[in-house]
Amino acid sequence: METLIRPSGKRPLAEVRQQLLSRFFLIATCLFYLSPMYWMVVTAFKSDKELAQFPPTLWPHDIFWHNFDQATKTFPFLSYLGNTIFYAALTMLGSVLSNFVIAYGFSRIKWPGRDLLFYPVIASIFIFIQFPVNPITMVPMFSFFAGLGLVNSFIPLVLPTFFGNPFFIFLLRQFMLQIPTSLSEAARLDGANEFQIMGRVILPLTRPALVVVALLAGVNAWNDFLGPLIYLQNDKLYTLSLGLTFFKTLHGIQFNMLMAASCLVVLPVVLVFLCFQRVFLEGVTLGSGR
């Protein structure tokens, strides 16, 4: 410890103590936040016999891969993976397209009433906290889509994402407001029309924020539970989250198998998150330029 600290100059003892304290606090908090995933992974590798042991073992005696084998036989993992990717991809497409265009209208063009109309966007945030399906609007929306014969399709889940989401509109608008108006003016003087300015000048500059929107929207769709629960009643259309309900049977839950399946469901999101962790962690900052 000391050898690490000395070369970078003399640090006061108080600062070293402060850092040790910080680390202790941080590691303790992180252990708590890792505990559900830790318990999931450990349980996924336990045999039925070890699972029944009391007190529970903190680490599996021998790594037992059989649960994963069994789990993928209990529910059609690959086909549900396909459904989930399909749902997430369409959601990403809809969210990026619609929120980009809407935020552009709210930030890059000056027109009377623009800022007044932005209030309802902000006000609607509290309803759309759960997106695309939420308990307040789900009953009439279900009747609506059922009337059109669209239950058991992804349309009710994906269609709303093509009409903007207040969180993303807000985030992108903040981002676009920071781009100097002179860029648009210059392009306009060069004879570019509004669509060309949008596509050739603003779009490339907004790309970092659009990546954030795409990732957040994708993860949101991947993890959605209420939407698929209501609209996907045919088990051929299930997403991974819904597929996990297969392990909750009348005979109780076989936790080692459920946790193995959960590992498979969680793994892709965690990998995406770890690859793009900077985008996730800094993406939140984009919306707070104020």
Binding site: W39, V139, P140, L226
Partner: protein, 300 residues
């Protein structure tokens, strides 16, 4: 002269048209996915409707039935209990996480990654992880508590603890809002602290008198989001307890779901949705209105 004037006006009109054109998807969505269902809740709420055939107009009968249904009142009580517990705790945890993520240690990015990680886990998987983590006999939590000689708690099976267990799930997802607080923390000019340091002010006093007042806009945001999330809490209860034990986790959203999709009482469910909307809107407006008394907008 005349010509340029004409051109200026047409540019304004053009801007208005383009502006409206670009935001038109949102206007359509606002009416189709918000105004229509909210109004429809009040309309359907006045009908008897099983989900098939035609809704039959019955006036205020659904509302009368609700007022007499003890389970409806239980669901409201549980929901408020949850909101009152989860919202302040959520603010506290989020600020705590933000302070933790703001520590000046080299590997702080790794801590941030770990603290954010549960936020990206699917709610079903995370809820089932917690069911298993909180299992009275085989769960890690009670095992660790047993080291401290605390007797086993039946977290999800005991009505006294079940709501708390569901509040706990929400805290694992606090990393996201924690990051928003972190951004607000880092926006505070360090000069403010320097002045206080010269006076020899303690860390705690600095936090209370400088940091906290400057975080109030973010706290306001968190409270409004938290109220919405709390009033609409569904998935963790549906997955972990199904509303039990003894209806102790029968939240309003779950009550709506069961009536609409399990008991085919769509009209009644719509009536409850309408009530939930009114509660949510009222609380959001009151919170926002109260902000002028306690939110500090000095930095902006």
């Amino acid at each position: 002269m005349n010509r340029t004037r004409k051109k200026v006006i047409s540019a304004d009109t053009r801007n208005l048209l383009f502006g409206l054109l670009f935001i038109s998807p949102w206007i359509l969505g606002f009416f189709l996915f918000l105004v229509y269902p909210v109004l429809s809740n009040f309309h359907l709420g006045m009908t008897q409707y099983s989900g098939f055939g035609k809704p039959e107009w019955i006036g205020f009968q659904n509302y009368a039935a609700l007022f007499k249904d003890p389970l409806f009142w239980t669901s409201l009580y549980n929901t408020f209990y949850y909101v009152v517990l989860a919202v302040p705790l959520g603010v506290f945890v989020a600020i705590g996480l933000a302070v933790a993520m703001n520590q000046k240690v080299r590997e702080v990015t790794w801590y941030r990654v770990i603290l954010y990680l549960p936020s990206v886990a699917p709610v079903f998987a995370l809820s089932m992880m917690l069911v298993w983590l909180l299992n009275p006999r085989f769960g890690l939590f009670n095992y660790i508590l047993s080291w401290l000689h605390i007797p086993a708690i039946n977290w999800l099976g005991d009505p006294h603890w079940s709501k708390l267990a569901i509040v706990l799930v929400a805290q694992f997802g606090a990393g996201h809002i924690g990051l928003i607080f972190l951004t607000a923390l880092r926006a505070i000019p360090p000069t403010l602290y320097d002045a206080a340091s010269l006076d020899g002010t303690s860390q705690w006093r600095k936090f209370c008198h400088i940091t906290l007042p400057l975080l109030t806009p973010t706290i306001l945001y968190d409270i409004i989001i938290g109220i919405g999330l709390g009033l609409q809490v569904f998935a963790p209860a549906y997955i972990m307890t199904g509303g039990g034990p003894l209806n102790s986790t029968m939240f309003t959203a779950l009550y709506i779901y069961k009536n609409a999709f399990e008991y085919s009482r769509v009209g009644l469910a719509a009536a409850v949705s309408g009530i939930l909307f009114l509660i949510n809107a009222t609380l959001a407006i009151v919170t926002f209105w109260s902000s002028k008394y306690w939110v500090n907008y000095h930095l902006e």
